[in-house]
């Protein structure tokens, strides 16, 4: 029993550490001071200011848009990839199952810079195409991992059962494979979406001037005047993510864990 209490205390300590900055951030969104200085004076003015802050709202819209496109692309590419790699066997199998995870082990700094160099090598202007490409590359592994875990758990006998009942390949895909992959597609898409939504480094390197995303806006507001509006918007995002997480968590269940599994079954 004593042992259990000690364990819980330890967990509490860690969670405290984990949540300290988040609490501070939320706290400061209700603080009067523009410079996040103490003493604390309660105020909702930063939330009110948020309403009129079109820059931040545009940035938010852009982030949502980029993340949405990225999420969709990742789900499509990931699903196709995972379905295809299912039939690959022999010496290629290992390569194909670990290939998509590779970008996870490259620091974003390097990923972003190398793409930037690529743009430069082709004498191009920065453009949205490369922003999407960069976002997709770093978000794709998450979709693939979730989908891979799911498809490994799928019994190949299901496809055969469907065929034996008279369904052709297309019907089997539409009525069996797709519905069964759907939760993983939602989960993987959501993760890729979040990864892209939150990404600063890649956008920072690749985004064309004049277009801004929320992380970039946050970074540039750190540059030109960080007002607690950022705290307010972050607090709102946390709230919304929590809701999404609850919804997605319910759909994807245990595949959540497989994400961080490095693809090892």
């Amino acid at each position: 029993m004593k042992n259990g209490a000690l364990s819980k205390l330890y967990i509490l300590g860690i969670l405290l550490f984990l949540y300290t900055p988040i609490f501070v951030l939320m706290l400061m969104s209700f603080n009067e001071s523009r410079y996040n200085t103490l003493p604390f004076v309660f105020s909702l003015k930063w939330y009110e200011a948020l309403k009129d802050n079109t820059t931040l709202m545009t940035a938010m819209n852009n982030s949502l848009y980029i993340a949405f496109v990225t999420g969709i692309c990742c789900v499509i590419l990931g699903t196709l990839f995972v379905l295809g790699s299912q039939v690959i066997s022999g010496k290629w199998k290992g390569l194909f199952s670990s290939m998509m995870v590779m970008p996870l082990s490259i620091p974003w700094l390097i990923m972003g810079l190398s793409l930037l160099l690529m743009i430069r090598a082709f004498q191009m202007d920065k453009n949205m195409f490369f922003v999407f490409a960069g976002h997709i590359i770093i978000s794709l592994p998450y979709s693939v991992l979730v989908l891979q875990a799911r498809i490994q758990a799928l019994d190949s006998a299901l496809d055969e059962a469907s065929a034996s009942l008279g369904a052709n390949a297309l019907t089997t895909f539409r009525r069996i494979t797709l519905p069964m992959l759907a939760p993983a597609m939602v989960a993987g898409g959501f993760l890729s979406f979040m990864m892209s939504f939150d990404n600063f480094v890649i956008s920072y390197f690749l985004i064309p001037a004049g277009i801004t995303t929320l992380p970039i806006e946050i970074q540039s507001s750190i540059k030109f005047g960080f007002t607690p509006e950022i705290n307010a918007v972050s607090t709102l995002i946390i709230g919304i993510s929590l809701v999404c997480l609850a919804v997605v968590g319910a759909i994807m269940g245990s595949s959540l864990k497989s994400i961080f599994n490095g693809g090892k079954a």
Binding site: R34, Y35, N36, T37, T58, N61, N62, Y65, I66, R120, Q123, M124, D125, K126, N127, M128, F129, F132, I207, P208, A209, G210, I211, T212, S221, I222, K223, F224, G225, F226
Partner: protein
């Protein structure tokens, strides 16, 4: 792909006859402020289409790759101007077509990097300085020398800017060298290393400085004129000085792109941008310092002094000049070495 909800509003304009002027500029840097340019657009029945750049380097790439008519006017500074002129990316500017050219401070009429072989290629637009800001509550006596940033009496309460150019130039000023062409790099390194010990931290972004300042973690530091003025308006106990022994200045210039199909309008635009009205309005609304002497003279002297926009300050500045890649690398390396040594 280019959508993203950020397209400029121009596309939706129904009046197709309007002339369009394509401008490459920083975001929020005058040419995209609806209030300021409305009058110009009205007067010339045109529309200004802004494209933004995120670095000078990027502007250079844009100029190199743009097709004819894609860019009319752009805003290069000293770091790329010589290259752009050398590569023939800019048209020669006929200053006689600019009514307001003559109203500029004299030094801006012959800004060295704007001129090549006696021909003018760019027109100065605004300028600013990087000097000293301090907390008037904590420091009663205004510092008079740039050396204040190296003064042990403020040890632990100083913040220096994390920028190789500012660092080397400032140290050059302190060691009595030509800030644009320092010779004794070892002395500069030694000075900066000495300074490092007195520092609370290096600041990189304006916000960092204001936070450090507001929470009184520092009492004095290297600062930009514009931000200092802004903070003062905010009610911070801040004062900005361009010390007698000088500080660093910079200037942004308008140029006309080689492929411009709208030269006439471009001249009108530049003329408008350096007009007294525009420059005055922008300056009092938190913009950088005007090159237009009339505009500068119209400013409240106290405000101008506090923002380092007055002529006295202007005359103390050493303006940044074009540097070759090699010099940049050397300076940057020196600065990296300073930062990374313990």
């Amino acid at each position: 792909l280019s959508g993203c909800g950020v397209k400029s509003t121009s596309d939706t304009d129904q009046n197709g006859e309007k002339q369009k002027l394509y401008v490459v500029n920083w975001k929020d840097y005058g040419s995209d402020d609806a209030d300021f340019i409305a009058a110009f657009e009205e007067a010339n029945n045109c529309e200004i289409v802004n494209t933004y750049m995120s670095s000078e380097e990027e502007l250079l790439t844009k100029l190199r790759t743009a097709k004819d008519g894609e860019i009319d006017v752009c805003l290069p500074n000293c770091s790329i101007l010589p290259a752009a002129i050398e590569e023939g990316l800019l048209k020669e500017v006929d200053s006689s077509k600019l009514e307001n050219f003559e109203k500029m401070f004299d030094r801006f009429k012959e800004q060295p990097e704007c001129i090549k072989d006696g021909k003018l290629y760019a027109v100065p637009f605004v300028w600013g300085s990087t000097a000293i800001a301090y907390n008037t509550n904590l420091i009663k006596e205004a510092p008079t020398s740039i050396n204040a940033l190296f003064d042990p009496q403020y040890a632990g309460k100083i913040t220096f800017r994390d920028d190789y150019n500012d660092a080397v130039m400032t140290a050059a000023l302190v060691t009595g060298q030509d800030a644009n062409n320092p010779k004794d790099m070892d002395a500069i390194k030694a000075k900066l290393l000495e300074q490092k010990k007195l520092n609370k931290t290096y600041w990189k972004t304006g916000d960092e400085f204001s936070k450090l300042f507001a929470s009184e973690q520092i009492s004095i530091g290297m600062m930009w004129s514009g931000q200092a003025a802004f903070m003062k308006q905010e009610g911070q106990p801040i004062a900005y000085v361009v010390p007698e022994d000088g500080a660093i200045g910079w200037v942004d210039n308008w140029g006309i792109a080689k492929g411009s199909q709208n030269e006439e309008l471009a001249y009108k635009f530049i003329d408008w941008m350096i007009s007294r009205d525009f420059q005055y309005n922008w300056a009092v609304n938190g913009g950088p310092a005007p090159v237009n002497q009339e505009a500068a003279d119209s400013l409240d002297p106290e405000y101008a002094a506090g923002a380092g926009m007055d002529e006295t300050s202007l005359n103390r500045l050493t303006f940044m000049q074009y540097r070759t890649d090699e010099v940049k690398q050397t300076w940057n390396e020196l600065w990296t070495e300073v930062k990374s040594s313990k």
